[in-house]
């Protein structure tokens, strides 16, 4: 009997040990991960984690700025990592907030999601730092700064960069097609398109198009067609005024109608391309921001000449052309253990010298009001005359409304846009009406009682 029990215990123990061993292995790995991702440092000093966009240029910029900082600062070390790639950075950030795995500071904050970020309590209130408002007002024009205030009147983001959307065009194609004017209105743009979009090699298919847009109904794709043109057509309005939905108007209908026309005549290519079609000379224009210019500059073949003009507006529009400025800002996360150190680093990121590097590395526009006057930037603009267009457009840009459910609303707009413009199955006025209806339903559903 005694022997039996001993046998029993010994074998059970063996099994228990191997199972515990397996768990230990797992725990060890988890601890290793935690330490890698954690902020502990064996050496003296503070380490902060900085997340930048996953765009290659911005990764290079971030690496440069961080290296410069680390060389000069012994007490505060910065570790930089690109935001984990996913369908959208906002999704990643919100998930990180939910799971408590946020970095100390991130420079890819989208103002449109600010409401969600703030409501989740994940961000540090920036105006608690005594010098914040003064420091920022020196850099950013007052009226633009006000649009970045949070719903409770405080600041949770530092305006960093914007990407005014304009039209880049291929001068060679324009010339070959006999287009000797810069299109300003919808009619002119379509007229240019009719001359340009044609069959070059006689196989019955078009070989050159006016432009191309990704037609997948993903909500952020609309920023570069519908939303940009809507801001231009409405003279600087956005979808909402406060929490009132205002996009159900004449401007939206005109934009839908314009794009429906474009796709009906086949002026924009619908198919997908192998490689970058603009650089390959298949597209005459591209609706894009300065980051696209950087891409074109890098990869263009010899003899490729390009220029820039503002987005087209409805025929009867007069005055300054507004456009969409894809703003990205900097925020400090509430999980940070070193708010002062992180704030110091944040201030460093928006100094004039850092802004110059932003221009040089990424060809994106820093949100500062002395771009064309500050002598520091003079050389840069001399070497990159095309960037002057963007710098001048920058003050006349609009961003996203900070309404929650904005993504879902854009989703709804996307789908009506797809039905109307891409597939020509819906009348523009009806499409806009449908989109507004569904947006209203979305807001109803998600409103708290």
């Amino acid at each position: 009997m005694q022997m039996e029990n001993n046998h029993h215990n010994r074998n059970l123990r063996k099994i228990h040990i191997s199972v515990i061993g397996l768990f230990c292995l797992l725990c060890v790995f988890q601890l290793c991960e935690k330490r890698q991702n954690g902020n502990q440092q064996k050496n003296s000093g503070i380490q902060i984690t900085y997340w930048c966009s996953s765009n290659q240029d911005e990764i290079d910029l971030a690496q440069y700025l961080v290296d410069q900082w680390n060389m000069v600062n012994d007490s505060i070390k910065v570790k930089m990592q690109p935001i984990p790639a996913s369908q959208s950075a906002e999704e990643v950030l919100l998930a990180a907030i939910a799971a408590g795995t946020t970095p100390d500071i991130c420079s890819n904050m989208w103002p449109g999601a600010m409401d969600d970020f703030i409501a989740s309590g994940g961000l540090v209130r920036l105006d608690q730092f005594p010098d914040f408002v003064d420091y920022i007002s020196e850099r950013v024009p007052k009226d633009l700064l006000e649009t970045f205030r949070g719903p409770d009147g405080h600041f949770y983001q530092i305006p960093w960069k914007s990407n005014p959307i304009m039209v880049v065009y291929n001068k060679n194609i324009f010339r070959d097609a006999g287009v000797d004017f810069i299109p300003r209105t919808y009619s002119e743009y379509i007229e240019a398109g009719r001359k340009i979009t044609r069959d070059l090699d006689g196989d019955g298919n078009f070989d050159v198009w006016l432009s191309h847009r990704d037609t997948k109904p993903i909500w952020w794709q609309r920023f570069f067609d519908y939303y940009t043109f809507y801001i231009a057509a409405s003279g600087g309005q956005t979808l909402f005024d406060g929490s009132q939905m205002i996009f159900n108007n004449e401007s939206s209908v005109r934009v839908f109608d314009f794009f429906q026309q474009i796709y009906k005549e086949g002026l924009f290519a619908k198919t997908t391309f192998v490689g970058d079609a603009f650089i390959l000379g298949k597209l005459a224009t591209q609706i894009a921001g300065p980051w696209h210019v950087s891409h074109v500059e890098k990869f263009r073949p010899p003899g490729f000449e390009y220029g820039i003009f503002p987005v087209p507006v409805p025929d009867d529009y007069k005055g300054q052309v507004y456009t969409f400025g894809d703003f990205k800002n900097i925020s400090i996360f509430g999980t940070t253990k070193h708010p002062e150190a992180t704030y110091a680093f944040a201030k460093y990121l928006v100094t004039a010298e850092a802004d110059l590097k932003l221009l040089e590395f990424t060809l994106q526009i820093p949100i500062r009001d002395d771009l064309t006057e500050n002598p520091l930037f003079e050389d840069f603009f001399k070497e990159n005359p095309n960037m002057v267009y963007f710098a001048e457009q920058a003050p006349y840009t609009r961003g996203m409304d900070g309404v929650s459910d904005l993504k879902e609303i854009f989703d709804a707009i996307s789908q009506e846009y797809e039905a109307c413009a891409i597939f020509n199955r819906r009348d523009p006025a009806v499409a806009v009406e449908n989109a507004a209806k569904r947006a209203k339903v979305i807001m109803e559903w998600n409103r708290s009682r």
């Binding site: 029993h8 369908q87 959208s88 999704e91 919100l94 998930a95 907030i97 939910a98 969600d116 409501a119 989740s120 309590g121 994940g122 037609t215 997948k216 109904p217 993903i218 619908k270 198919t271 997908t272 192998v274 459910d405 993504k407 879902e408 789908q415 797809e418 039905a419 891409i422 597939f423 199955r425 339903v441 559903w445 998600n446 708290s448 009682r449």
Partner: protein
């Protein structure tokens, strides 16, 4: 006597100890999620802000949600094309493989290859095959003088195209299942029928099909469950478009939960969807078993 009791007790103790892993697992990863899911249905929550009681509002929303209903319809369209295609192709090739041939192992392995490869690989590959201007399929078609087909660019073709791709991926598995089923049919049945003067077609419908009843049911149920779980293919290939024609129910639920942050609503959708799946499977069971 005491020895006997002690032996039973020791067996019971072992029983409890050894089934403990499953019981623990069940409580944490099955029971709790089910209960929580049921709880979540009556709330609005996006994880980062506090939960809010909304009663039956999620259900109200569900029944007015055109997109969700469309997504279920899309899934049914997928199944309506995928299952018959799957069964006919699998049965056909299984019957060929059942004949006396050399290289049977080679063909079997070849047909089975797409089954084990990740769905991501298949989807990326087929997105290229389906490409309108540069895809392999359209290149071959135009070589024969036909017009290009907008496989994934048109709302009419998109879901059928995904169904074809899914069939290509999974048919190997069902060929194997049918093969096993076919090999279980006794030879003498066919020989007897032949002596009685039955033609091949009659032999097929009166012997083969009834004998495969169980396998047929299995194939249908597995395909159905797989079809209802359709997610990665639309996620990677089309994002749910064009015009929401490939928005599968799972993709819609994923979007609601992890894209828009409506956890409560997504849980409601999930529950409702699971209910539909159960009903469909039960119906299928009844129908096929009656034959």
């Amino acid at each position: 006597m005491r020895h006997f009791i002690k032996e039973i007790k020791s067996s019971e103790k072992s029983g409890y100890l050894m089934s403990m892993p499953y019981v623990v697992y069940f409580c944490i990863f099955v029971a709790f999620p089910l209960a929580f899911s049921f709880f979540l249905i009556f709330h609005k929550w996006n994880i980062v802000t506090p939960m809010e009681w909304v009663g039956l509002r999620n259900f109200n929303r569900l029944f007015h949600d055109i997109q969700f209903i469309k997504s279920i319809r899309n899934t049914l369209v997928f199944l309506a094309i995928h299952i018959p295609l799957q069964i006919s192709i699998a049965l056909f090739f299984a019957m060929q493989l059942n004949k006396k041939i050399i290289f049977r192992g080679f063909f079997r392995a070849l047909f089975f290859l797409p089954v084990i490869v990740s769905g991501v690989v298949i989807t990326i590959l087929w997105e290229q095959l389906y490409s309108y201007e540069t895809g392999l399929l359209n290149l071959i078609i135009t070589r024969f003088g036909f017009a290009r087909i907008p496989w994934i660019n048109s709302p009419e073709w998109a879901m059928p195209s995904i169904a074809i791709m899914a069939t290509w991926k999974n048919v190997g598995l069902y060929i194997i299942l049918f093969l096993v089923g076919l090999q279980g049919i006794p030879r003498y049945l066919y020989e007897a029928a032949e002596i009685d003067g039955a033609k091949p077609v009659q032999r097929f419908f009166y012997i083969t099909i009834p004998a495969l009843n169980n396998t047929m049911l299995l194939v249908i149920i597995l395909s159905t469950i797989g079809g209802f779980s359709l997610f990665i293919e639309p996620f990677v290939m089309t994002g749910g478009g064009p015009m929401n024609s490939t928005l599968s129910a799972m993709l819609y639920i994923y979007n609601q939960a992890f894209y828009f942050g409506h956890m409560g609503y997504a849980a409601t959708l999930g529950f409702f969807f699971a209910f539909i799946i159960l009903v469909v499977i039960l119906i299928q069971k009844k129908v096929v078993e009656r034959e």
